[in-house]
């Protein structure tokens, strides 16, 4: 019961902060709302017994990525942006319409069949160890070792790319 209430409150906060991200006037407001949103999502991960992901969400997204965002916003001293409903033009109206249609479609599908009746992968029984560090580590280095190692290529190339583009002087 208490979990239900907590979940709905978190979901509500997540939606409100998400709205703030896309409507906030200043980029800093957006960034901070996004941080709040990330915390809500981390909390839902915790509820889903994915502890490792929850903590990684906080470390990586809230602790590193968003700090980087804030850093760049401050570095560039970005000014306030036009908000969503100021100067509402045709393009924006079209975007809102499109998104609304997408949401309606998802809602329609939900009315057709709920996700929960989808077939179970292994068993219907609860499997709480799924999200622990141990099980993540075990699978990361057995079944998923190739993608895991290849992720390092993405990171390496991103580092090279970022340095090449943002370096001030080429010597």
């Amino acid at each position: 019961m208490i979990v239900d209430i907590l979940f709905y409150i978190t979901a509500l906060v997540a939606i409100i902060s998400g709205l703030l991200v896309i409507t906030g006037k200043s980029p800093v407001t957006s960034a901070l709302s996004l941080v709040l949103n990330f915390f809500c999502i981390a909390f839902i991960y915790l509820m889903l017994e994915a502890q490792f992901l929850a903590i990684i969400q906080v470390i990586v997204y809230a602790g590193a990525i968003m700090v980087l965002f804030l850093f760049v916003i401050m570095l560039l001293n970005l000014q306030d942006d036009m908000t969503l409903f100021e100067r509402f033009d045709l393009k924006k109206g079209f975007a809102v319409l499109l998104t609304g249609l997408f949401l309606l479609e998802i809602a329609y599908i939900f009315s057709l069949d709920s996700v929960s009746i989808a077939p179970k992968g292994v068993t219907g029984a609860s499997f709480p160890e799924l999200g622990t560090v141990e099980s993540i580590g075990k699978y990361l280095f057995s079944d998923f070792v190739y993608p895991f190692e290849m992720i390092s290529v993405v990171l390496l190339s991103a580092v090279v790319g970022a340095v090449v583009i943002a370096k001030k002087k080429v010597d």
Binding site: L19, I22, S30, E49, Q57, D143, I151, A158, V159
Partner: protein, 101 residues
């Protein structure tokens, strides 16, 4: 929590469409970029919910990979924003109009 899987997937759909809306309507490159991050996070949420639903680790693995890739994207993206700012003093995509947006 398994009874909430539906609700979580619905939440992820809502957050995803918010992200799409943000990308389509905002003008500041950084805000657009943050909307993309919102999209990726909604995907992660759905993946974790599905992983719990199926009792299968694949979803959570993919979430880890998505996080790493998001971090990589942020590095390159912010570098691009900085390089463009150095030449143009703006991050507003509507002012970036040498090549018609």
């Amino acid at each position: 929590m398994n009874q909430h899987i539906d609700a979580i997937v619905a939440l992820s759909a809502i957050l995803f469409s918010m992200g799409v809306l943000g990308v389509l309507t905002r003008k500041n490159a950084i805000t657009i970029f943050m909307s993309v991050e919102l999209m990726l996070n909604s995907v992660n949420l759905a993946l974790v919910a599905f992983s719990r639903l199926h009792n299968d680790i694949t979803g959570q693995m993919l979430v880890i990979f998505v996080m790493a890739i998001a971090a990589a994207e942020v590095a390159v993206g912010l570098a691009i924003v900085i390089s463009i700012f150095r030449n143009r003093q703006t991050a507003d995509v509507t002012e970036i109009n040498l090549l018609r947006w």
